[in-house]
Symmetry: C2
Amino acid sequence: MTSAETKYLTLDGSLPLENGGSLQDVVVAYRTWGEPADSAALVCHALTGNADADDWWSGLYKPGAILDPERNYVVASNVLGGCYGSTGPTSINLRTGHPYGRDFPDVTIRDMVEVQRRLLDHLGVSRVSFAIGGSMGGMQAQEWAALHPDRIDAAVSIGVGITQSAWNIALSDAQRAAITSAAGTEKGLAIARMIAMISYRSPENFDTRFGRELSDSGFTVQDYLRYQGEKLVDRFDADTYVTLINAMDSHDLARSRELASIETPILAVGISSDALYPSSDVKKLADALPNGVYRTLHASQGHDAFLIETGELNRIVAGFLNRVDSRYPAGRDGRGSAWA
Amino acid sequence: MTSAETKYLTLDGSLPLENGGSLQDVVVAYRTWGEPADSAALVCHALTGNADADDWWSGLYKPGAILDPERNYVVASNVLGGCYGSTGPTSINLRTGHPYGRDFPDVTIRDMVEVQRRLLDHLGVSRVSFAIGGSMGGMQAQEWAALHPDRIDAAVSIGVGITQSAWNIALSDAQRAAITSAAGTEKGLAIARMIAMISYRSPENFDTRFGRELSDSGFTVQDYLRYQGEKLVDRFDADTYVTLINAMDSHDLARSRELASIETPILAVGISSDALYPSSDVKKLADALPNGVYRTLHASQGHDAFLIETGELNRIVAGFLNRVDSRYPAGRDGRGSAWA
């Protein structure tokens, strides 16, 4: 691969934010893979992800797969508001000399897309062959399709619908409350992660993995959950977490526009065991779009399956890309074979 | 109704606990309705409930309904470990002179049933015509069927399966973590309640009630959830909450016994929209029992529907009771008409 190193770009000037206000000299952390080209595939990450997409989505970077760097120029960046190198709550607020923390302004998915657009301008990428992401990444892919129809060929949105449901917002809010009312925000972040992990996995998945197995300290599933909470505290920031779940709650592809006006082909992939974003809600996204396509990823792991079942996901996405553009013919094995 | 007043009984002597240790002079808070009789219907409450069953289950106490005091002698008590008058974490530990708090011993659903048995002995009730409850109350009804087959005619267990699934335990554990790691246990209890309320209601219910409606402070669903959290803090105790979710996690009707050996007729009612205890898991309970009967309560509210859709619930339970015992013939309207 051409690059697996994270680079940092400062976007000179002002970035106006959708909810008012602006940020100056925003930094964006990014990675690219493959030969630089006019056209690139754009990978968008989920809540606690980063620009290291070849790490957390390695299955899609394999030879012949949809993000194979031998066939694509691929770009991924840490979102605006993130804590993996892009400007966010852990960045220094130049007005105060201290990190923004909870004073970081509200950002939306559309603001994240604007930062990505400016990054692509800098990289000389005039066309997005496809934008792809799961969960919060899927929201970004959707917004790319809506905001830049003249610049994108197709979008792939996995495990997420048109908007956050009231139930999604409720789950976010329990996590927000844990972070903002707990003794230390770190303890709150650990609790938020525990809540999230329950919603990311399916009851079936937990039953298969843990059942009622006991450990020295209780049930094994408790140890797993507590460990997941602590592990996130080691690698993530609590204020960033709140910033990003707020951005997710703000997501509504239909805000200030008609879904019927979005002509970019969008593949909406529903996950059969997803408790957080039921596949029936994901299908509604495809049904509301003139060029929407719905496919089900059959998997038992729940919402997180988009990070796990990459073989099947690759097959589904390759089939879609082949269908929307004959420049991406399917190989004999059904996988796209000529992405560039 | 004969009585809507809460009474308090001290059970002299020692109560050995299933997990070891014992409690002395346990107090049980209870209510009775109708004419005292040898045979009584026993109502078992859920996590944050109490002995005021004519209040929180008023629909089942209506004339002609299954708990109509004109036709039944009905008994309900606050569970062992509770905070509505029975011995629990808020009670004074006579050894220290202070409330038990987190030092209250582990209790199980079977320990709760033993306290109820001693209460019925005191009241001169030699037969339980039926024990009924939803959620944690259903667990108690199940254990009554298994522990006292010679004393009970039938049990009705609503919205709960054979045991707590790994996913149920995970949800409990996020709540436990919120309570035990938060700044004040009160804030933790509020967060725990927020988590619980999400699992008690269905995504459909939240969407219908709240959608993405905005309030001055955010989304309306957030206000609702925060209010539910604060409201519980006003009426419940955090250590009691942990004691009772621990007891629920311990529930396993198959612990140290064969389900096939439980011959008491048990009606298992699954709630069609229940995310916490899917109806498919509830059906497994009925299927595993020699005299198990499964029925679905069709309702959109999720797990909490057993407290809301009492008209339909009454119809389902009356039909079952009529089927298991001809002493309870159905009236012309299908409702039981001769309970006493």
